[in-house]
Symmetry: C2
Subunit: 329 residues, 2 copies
């Protein structure tokens, strides 16, 4: 029998990945994952089988890397799971599709706590299950830093995919979901002097909740181009402009509600909330263009117009801040 004065109680030594075999770790992980109604065969075999009733599947992949995309000091395993799922499901929605399933590969250090990995499964489930998305398979490996790679699948239900290239002069530019909240939340965390619990934008940074149903809604409403805002409104609008061969004019007066929602946080940090709204990514809202002669679908609000020409202008001026890039110093 252990002597509590001499032996540490077992509870005080967190169980790590190195304490478990791959089989044992999978036995903790897999049962926490949702199945999803499109799943014909889930985890446990060489591959999964997902139903694709209309004959084509939407496919996208993203990877989150520790200390590049998240810090363990700020994000729990569940936060990372939610975020990894949400940003991929947003990419599916941005094609006009309904997400159906995802697969995950996880690289993790041997000293990672099992609780973190279990939290990751719970986060994947929390972001997927409400949308009837199954987590159908994946792979685990050891490695020095955590890397979570998610591939997500979607069903177009008979509509054509909405690419970035269909915007035409005269179209309305509109957005669904929030802008700048994730960037504001990151700024609060980076600053370190504010009480994060008093700024709910931090939650948007840690656990983005993209407007997934707005994607198919936009497709059915005739959206001519669409993407999810992952690198900032101006930069992502520029992608539609380039792909479509036209210009996008954005108006800060139409973005005023987004800016106003961030003014308290911005004032406490001495920063300009307009920067967050124009250049902050990772809320994963949907930016789309629609023919002007049709009503916007209910999830979308107008923020500008497509014009002849090229590039993005805000209140008639070409912005200088252009989002960020992974590899540039």
């Amino acid at each position: 029998m252990p002597d509590p004065d001499r032996d540490p109680a077992p509870e005080t030594v967190p169980e790590t990945v190195a304490d478990l075999s791959e089989t044992d770790l999978l036995a903790r992980f897999v049962p926490r994952l949702p199945r999803g109604r499109a799943t014909e065969l889930g985890p446990g075999d060489d591959a999964a089988v997902v139903e694709v009733p209309t004959g084509r599947v939407v496919v996208t992949a993203d990877v989150l890397v520790e200390d590049r995309h998240f810090r363990r000091a700020w994000s729990t395993g569940e936060d990372v799971g939610r975020r990894a799922a949400a940003q991929n499901l947003a990419d599916v929605a941005a094609m006009g599709a309904r997400p159906t399933a995802l697969v995950v590969t996880l690289v993790m250090p041997a000293d990672l706590e099992v609780a973190w990995v279990v939290g990751l499964a719970d986060g994947l489930a929390a972001a997927s299950a409400p949308h009837d998305v199954g987590v159908v398979g994946g792979d685990l490996s050891s490695g020095e830093r955590i890397a979570v790679s998610v591939t997500a699948f979607g069903e177009l239900d008979g509509v054509a995919p909405v690419t970035r290239s269909g915007a035409r002069p005269g179209d309305v530019v509109a957005v669904a979901g929030t802008l700048g909240r994730s960037a504001a939340g990151l700024a609060v965390l980076l600053d370190g002097t504010l009480d994060a619990s008093e700024h709910d934008v931090v939650g948007t940074y840690l656990r983005p909740d993209p407007p997934l149903t707005a994607g198919p809604e936009a497709a059915r409403a005739g959206a001519t181009a669409m993407l999810d805002v992952s690198d900032g409104l101006v930069r992502d609008a520029g992608r539609i402009a380039v792909a479509s061969g036209c210009g996008l004019e954005l108006s800060t007066s139409l973005l005023a509600p987004d800016v106003e929602a961030l003014t308290v946080t911005a004032e406490e940090l001495g920063l300009d909330p307009v920067d967050w709204v124009l250049t902050g990514g990772e809320d994963h809202g949907l930016l789309a263009t629609f023919p002007a002669d049709r009503p916007l679908p209910p999830s979308f609000r107008r923020i500008g117009a497509v014009v002849a020409g090229a590039g993005v202008r805000v209140d008639g001026v070409t912005p200088t801040a252009e989002g960020w890039d992974h590899f540039r110093a």
Copy 2:
């Protein structure tokens, strides 16, 4: 004009990932990738669109991590690309499906040479294009070590997926492709004293070439269970035994051709080639069970029988070597 006595020639400083923007790196990478006839929409948008004519898609994912699954000293970027693609395509084939497409996420250090990344694209293409498999999308990120995560898709063409659980006593156990060659090749590299160019098993380790067409062939021939041998024959046979609730009896006399093909290399290293054949993974051959009353498809050769009971026996004895595990010390 540069002074060659004072300035190093530009050619002598390899271009690294840090020298390029993400956009520029993608512009080098993406054009090298095959499209594949199932690709309706390839890289460049939020997501790809892949045709799935028969209403269900086979999906699998695996990750290769530097210094866990490969060493840059041994494997070129092209080798890693070939291997990452091949092992995922083998998982698709092991369901009885024809691979159609894959997506890739790549984590890489900023000081990685661009030539390595371009080689990776060429390796993915070399493994995919001959099978009309498209590389349809993915994601790049910086990170300390290289991690290549591939998700592959396949088309069942109307046959039912072949899982691990359908083996029945009386079935024939058969294999397509090689056994033990990859393990022998790794042993040559680990030993370091032999001339690797004189042992073509090294090529199987670096660039496995699984018998992909044997998967659909097995499904059409009525295979009752199937998987690809990634962790060793005995261990993977054990997976079929567990999933199917029966035993697998393997015979070394039936494996003699596989063993004989490795004897020269084994003798030079003073090792037993039987170990490689029984426990070596990563040739990614296909292990399947078939009803005894039907002819085996031409790619398969008989190596044993399914029996009542449990577990795997070799020549009537339960083997002790059981393959390897990622996390156990």
